[in-house]
């Protein structure tokens, strides 16, 4: 059973370990390349990063001791890894419960005489082994990177940091297991767990900047940050580590109780039994019969969830903006970095910088989710049923594109409206017309992501989501790191987000917009040709 659990988790293990280990080596080498050799250059670099880091407190811990590699890695590497390991824990926990149930594996195992307790023990044990191994490889790679850059790290401190990371990952996994018991499908579980972990992650960000008070300190991400053994004078914080362990144990135990009590394939929360008369007629909703609207109707719950999620993020970032702008006004260097030498207003530039990049990342995830749905349409037989109707294949592609654009408009509109209200509430002056224009310009990029995905699912349906995910994450980080590390334009242009530009600061990027339209037309055109020519598979 444990071997099966290890096997089920190997893809996540390989991906997480590869990214984390690569990040460890790359950050060490990058630091060595840019920090300079003299104490003065190190101090100047540290001052810049520490100021810049204040803008990113919603995402990363507050940077300290950046004049040392250990301090830099504490912030940039071990401060960012919780997000990635949290995502892995989310996918692994929902896969271990709902994913395997959706596929009928759990039913088979239980029918083969495996008890529910043993099944859950194996999945938790398997993930614990994989997570510990992944962190061990990451720790080793980070130490190797540091040694290569000529500034070796104290092994005990790195291992201690690794212990804290394992504790956080297991804690996220346990929360995922517990919350998954309340859902019915893997998709539903993933949404619920993402919401809970997302709130806990943002709460830690809020706690860092003092925006949400001490209530946010129950977040496992906040508890993780109490341990900073890489810093001079820092150590592994035993109480927070114990809290993490306790949450992991309690979460797993509660998940086990709920798993034992509920029916397979059902939520732990039992719906009220309704006695309704049987229905023998098709649904009367005309939206189900209209092109495009039928696609939107099918994903109504998902669309509303995305809109609500992005609105929540907009509210969160909008609440942090006054503090960030106040700091920026006191620090000319930040002004310089945000304004990039342009003569725009600082408030608008700040909103564009903080909101634009984050919204692009979330909206590209929205596009990826749509692409994943298109791939599932084929693998789950819905496309076959669609094409059994007298519908040309190109129309399927066209409807997908238009529905994606319409969904993106809805999500962007709700989130942008939320941000506009929050900024006004906080008295941040914002040109609403320019802001509306910048919001509208987010939509073509979402559709461009979808166009790339549409091509990919015709070629490698299973890899499409992964490839798009890598493109989105790489685009985000290139854009985030480019000003910090002064990346050349060639590297900067590799980010798909660069096509959006900085409309609130520099006005619309017309060339980028033209490129996006070319991607949209070319991508969906190619996808239509590909779908017309290939076999429909399951």
């Amino acid at each position: 059973m444990l071997r099966i659990a290890l096997r089920q988790g190997r893809a996540g293990f390989i991906a997480a370990t590869a990214i984390a280990a690569f990040n460890g080596i790359a950050q060490s080498l990058a630091y060595d390349a840019i920090v300079g050799d003299t104490p003065a250059s190190r101090a100047a670099f540290a001052a810049q990063i520490e100021l810049l880091g204040r803008q990113l407190t919603f995402l990363l811990p507050v940077p300290v001791q950046i004049e040392t590699l250990a301090g830099f890695l504490d912030w940039r590497h071990f401060g960012a890894l919780p997000l990635m390991y949290g995502v892995w824990a989310l996918l692994a926990s929902t896969g271990a419960t709902r994913g395997d149930e959706d596929r009928g594996y759990v039913e088979q195992w239980l029918a083969a005489g495996v008890s529910r307790a043993r099944y859950l023990r194996a999945r938790v044990g398997g993930f614990a082994i994989l997570a510990s191994s992944s962190v061990a490889v990451t720790v080793a790679a980070t130490m190797a990177g540091a040694a290569l850059s000529g500034e070796p790290l104290p092994p005990g401190a790195v291992v201690a940091q690794g212990v804290a990371l394992v504790a956080l990952t297991l804690c996220c996994f346990a929360i995922g297991l517990l919350v998954s018991q309340l859902a019915v499908t893997r998709r539903g579980a993933a949404g619920l767990v993402a919401l809970v972990l997302g709130i806990l992650f943002l709460a830690a960000g809020g706690a860092r900047s003092g925006a949400f008070g001490t209530a946010a300190q129950v977040s496992p991400f906040w508890l993780y940050e109490r341990s900073r053994p890489l810093l001079a004078g820092g150590s592994l914080d035993a109480p927070s580590l114990m809290w993490l362990g306790s949450i992991a144990l309690l979460g797993t135990a509660a998940a086990a109780v709920l798993f034992r009590r509920r029916d397979l394939g059902a939520s732990a929360i039992r719906p009220r039994i309704r006695s309704a008369r049987p229905s023998f007629v098709p649904a009367g909703r005309s939206a189900l019969r209209a092109p495009v609207l039928r696609a939107l109707d099918r994903q109504a719950t998902g669309l509303l969830s995305w809109a609500a999620g992005l609105a929540l993020l907009a509210f969160f970032l909008g609440s942090l903006l006054p503090t960030m702008i106040r700091v920026a006004k006191e620090v000319p260097l930040i002004q310089l970095m945000v304004l990039r030498g342009a003569a725009g207003d600082l408030e608008g530039a700040f909103v564009g910088s903080v909101w634009g990049n984050t919204a692009l990342l979330v909206l590209s995830s929205f596009a990826i989710a749509q692409v994943s749905g298109w791939a599932a349409d084929e693998s789950e037989g819905r496309l076959e049923m669609t094409l059994a109707a007298p519908l040309p294949r190109w129309r399927v592609v066209l409807e997908r594109a238009v529905a994606l654009a319409a969904g993106a408009v809805l999500v962007v509109a709700v989130a942008s409206l939320t941000l506009a209200v929050v900024t006004r509430w906080h008295g941040i002056p914002l040109d609403l017309l320019e802001f509306a224009g910048a919001s509208v310009l987010l939509v073509p990029l979402v559709v461009a992501f979808g166009a790339i995905g549409a091509v990919l699912i015709g070629w490698r349906p299973r890899a499409a989501v992964w490839i798009l995910g890598v493109v989105a994450v790489a685009s985000y980080f290139i854009q985030q790191l480019a000003p910090m590390f002064r990346f050349p334009d060639l590297v900067r242009n590799l980010s798909l987000f660069e096509l959006y530009g900085s409309p609130l600061l520099l006005g619309p990027n017309w060339a980028g917009l033209a490129a996006q339209l070319a991607i949209i037309i070319g991508g969906f055109g190619l996808a239509a040709v590909s779908l017309s020519r290939r076999d429909i598979t399951r």
Binding site: S279, R289, E384, A388, D535
Partner: protein
């Protein structure tokens, strides 16, 4: 569409997946208003053929026509006239049955709600429940509703009674008969010989991707053989049994006789009725054995 052409016609239709998998050089003609059974073991190429007829898979070579139109070139026009039931049921997750029907009817257009209601009531399918909560049989019923709801001229059904209980199988048989009575053609794949016997005018059998036999059902019925094992209280009337037409005694030891019966079993039963039968066991031959025995005879 051309009324003078067969409902389905294939010319050397081939889909080669490599390693001998697929369907090869299929030449087949299904007449209008005919119920045609397409039989064969798992992996023989039945679903591959059906997917090519539906334009979901492209042939490696050869061609297929439905109602006089090319399955690939005229695929969209054709589907106005076809009702399709896939071999592997689609997943509609949390949708209600009523939403699935409305969605697929909307894609197709020109579906009378009265027709839907009539079929749904016939199968006693509650459309108010979510698809996820449906049993295997109920999902199959929903797929049948979708296949029949627009009164198609041709029905292509991949294992249509899979998962249905005997009562609903009977409802399906009645529905097929009513459909052919109004002039429609039915092409169905199946593993169930009794179903094919019950419904089909002709049947073809595929094995390892090749059509190995094609015959009208009366010939198939005549070809059917079964193995019978009889235990007598006294020495068995072997001579009288051997004298019967279509009976081959395979083994006789003590008070037991094992024989193969081709055609009706009634003459054998009449012969042994006064011989003190203690036990009688009949074993249906496999579909392929029964069918192929006709050709090897």
């Amino acid at each position: 569409m051309r009324a003078d052409r067969p409902a389905i016609q294939t010319h050397g239709l081939t889909k080669d997946y490599g390693n001998g998998r697929g369907i090869f050089d299929l030449d087949l003609a299904v007449d209008r208003s005919e119920v045609f059974g397409f039989l064969g073991p798992n992996g023989a190429g039945k679903s591959t053929t059906i997917r090519q007829l539906m334009g979901l898979a492209r042939p490696t070579r050869g061609s297929a026509e439905i109602l006089g139109l090319d399955c690939q070139r005229d695929s969209v026009e054709l589907k106005r006239h076809i009702g399709y039931l896939p071999g592997e049921l689609p997943q509609f997750g949390g949708w209600k049955g009523s939403e699935v029907v409305a969605y697929l009817a909307g894609l197709r257009g020109r579906v009378e709600p009265g027709d839907v209601r009539r079929i749904v009531e016939r199968f006693e399918l509650d459309l108010g429940r979510t698809y996820r909560d449906y049993s295997r049989g109920n999902k199959q019923k929903l797929a049948l509703v979708v296949a029949f709801m627009h009164r198609p001229e041709l029905l292509i059904l991949d294992e249509p009674t899979s998962g249905l209980d005997p009562l609903n199988q009977q409802q399906f048989h009645d529905l097929v008969r009513e459909t052919t009575d109004r002039g429609a053609t039915v092409f169905l794949s199946s593993h169930v010989l009794s179903e094919v016997e019950h419904l089909c005018d002709r049947a073809g059998i595929v094995r390892d991707g090749r059509l190995v036999a094609l015959a009208p059902l009366p010939e198939l019925r005549a070809a059917k053989e079964r193995e019978v094992e009889i235990t007598f209280a006294a020495p068995p009337p072997l001579e009288r049994i051997r004298a019967l037409e279509g009976i081959t005694v395979l083994d006789a030891s003590g008070q037991q006789v094992r024989c193969r019966v081709r055609g009706a079993i009634a003459p054998l039963l009449a012969t042994i009725s006064d011989a003190g039968v203690v036990d009688l066991v009949t074993r249906e031959p496999s579909l392929e054995d029964a069918f192929l025995s006709f050709y090897s005879a």
